[in-house]
Symmetry: C2
Subunit: 332 residues, 2 copies
């Protein structure tokens, strides 16, 4: 089955992907940090038994994976960096397409994640909501009438939902507008950061825009708000791009980036992301005859641990940069 990120989504000139994450805890169980490994393992098994068959998910105990496999899952946003940091009593439920992933015993008992290409908040939410309902048939979730869903971290209390979109914003970055955008969106209850969560440095001009507020707001209102701001940012980015691609300097940068990607023999990930960002811009602008989703797929598969997991070897940095260069040449 092909992966969720293969195929074009809506607004994919700018919106790379959409993710919905729901945090849930089961009543009468302490939070995972208060459970020992054995109890967590047993709970994970119980949750897996309830949902895997119905949703056709694979049950993966984290301790059965190699380090590159675990880090690769984080690189693909299938698990959180925090989840990757310890495998003890943790499990992952994963669909074939990798579009659904459920972390068991991260900070909460259950974190349902649904990912879609492009801007697809409603569809992604509907799918997460359906899985939530299915689980709710088997388990009673910790819920407070006044607060909503109870979560270990107070910032998730209420809906327990994080909705986010990955945006490619090379033109707004080039005009130096990202810091003012960041402070503007925070007033709208949203946050913008690097693609690997808060505190991560943006690479390849890719930003994660997500809702900050979970308390006192409905899921629909949060999603509508995120969608509105996403569309506004996309419009701003398009205007800035239209101005930018008129310059032969931009055209020069795009084609040089494409030329280097097709030629290099050593390609460090940071440089790769910088170059691939320009190529994505060129692809969307019609200067280069490749599809933006091909670039997106390349960005995912060329991350360090994902390369190591794919070749099944523990390549060191230099070997991996050589392997990356080789694979990029073959694919472009």
């Amino acid at each position: 089955m092909s992966k969720w990120y293969i195929g074009a989504g809506e607004q994919n000139d700018i919106v790379i992907s959409t993710r919905i994450r729901l945090a849930r805890n089961i009543e009468d169980y302490p939070f995972p940090c208060k459970l020992d490994t054995k109890s967590r393992t047993a709970l994970n098994k119980k949750i897996g038994d309830a949902i895997c068959g119905r949703e056709n998910l694979e049950f993966i105990e984290m301790k059965t994976l190699t380090q590159p496999q675990i880090v690769s899952l984080a690189e693909k946003h299938l698990i959180s960096p925090e989840f990757a940091s310890s495998y003890d009593g943790r499990a992952l439920l994963l669909s074939d397409s990798e579009g659904i992933s459920i972390m068991l015993c991260e900070e909460d008992h259950i974190k349902i994640q649904v990912m879609k290409p492009g801007l697809s908040l409603e569809t992604a939410y509907a799918e997460a909501d359906r899985i939530d309902d299915e689980l709710n048939e088997k388990f009673v979730f910790a819920f407070d009438d006044r607060l909503g869903y109870l979560t270990q971290c107070p910032t998730n209390l209420g809906t327990g939902m994080r909705a986010s979109v990955l945006l490619h914003l090379p033109a707004l970055t080039a005009c130096g507008q990202m810091s003012s955008i960041s402070s503007t969106v925070s007033k709208l209850g949203l946050t913008v950061c690097g693609s690997y969560g808060e505190g991560s440095v943006p690479m390849g001009d890719i930003y994660c825009l997500s809702n900050q507020v979970t308390l006192g707001i409905s899921e629909k209102a949060a999603i509508d708000n995120l969608k509105t701001v996403t569309l506004q940012l996309a419009a701003q980015e398009r205007t800035a791009r239209a101005e930018m691609v008129k310059n032969i300097e931009t055209e020069d940068e795009i084609f040089r980036a494409y030329g280097i990607l097709k030629s290099a023999r050593i390609l460090p990930v940071k440089e790769f992301m910088t170059l691939v960002s320009k190529v994505r811009l060129g692809a969307v602008a019609g200067l280069i005859g490749i599809k933006p989703e091909t670039v997106d797929e390349l960005m995912i598969s060329m991350q360090p641990a994902t390369i190591n997991a794919a070749v099944g070897k523990n390549l060191d940095g230099r070997e991996r940069d050589i392997e990356r260069a080789k694979q990029v040449r073959q694919r472009l």
Copy 2:
């Protein structure tokens, strides 16, 4: 007729070209700087009449050329930068292939130049010597039995000969050996400098190696000395290259340079020369399937004034960098 630089010469993995220059003055005439424009023009005509028919040379009065055409002649080493600086009472005799060029009324009355691809000192000297003999049939040269040929600048007294080779030395440059080489060859009566003469900054790892001594030495001895040192430097460069091209870092640099040259939309001359040097190295090493002489021809035709002369427009720096990028893409 195809140009002299089209075609492979001996040792052309390293030796780009060979040049012989003979300075001669006609007895009973003051040096050019002591002649007025009218007398110089008349003298030029007289010399032209004596040789143009026999050698099939074109007689070109410098004042009939545009500025880009004049600078282009200097870029191609057909005239000296000094000769390009003033056109008053100066003329050039030029063969179709541009392999023979005779400057009239530069600092001396006559400067015979013969250029050949690769290492070809004896052949180039024989050709220059033949032209010298032909002129000598019609004119008596200023000659002193003790000093030899008399020239305006004392550094040319004696043989009046400058023999030089253009060398491509990327590996010796990369190992930082050029300054020690420079001091070594100066003890052997030779000098190494950039391709546009003493004081010029080397571009594209190209150096001009020439004889310094003209007094108290025969032409043959000077040429033999230059040839011996050239072959030694070539051997050193080959050893350094063999070591260098083993590294994937070098391969990476070569292919990136090739990728950029084939992709860029703006290509400043300095960057062009740096990139093309790497591509020449890659071509000689068999990594890239193009001939070194193709690279050499490109280096000549992509110089600033040569581009302007070819398109027949006075392009400014930016326009020319765009034109260069376009032409390089087409040719590679």
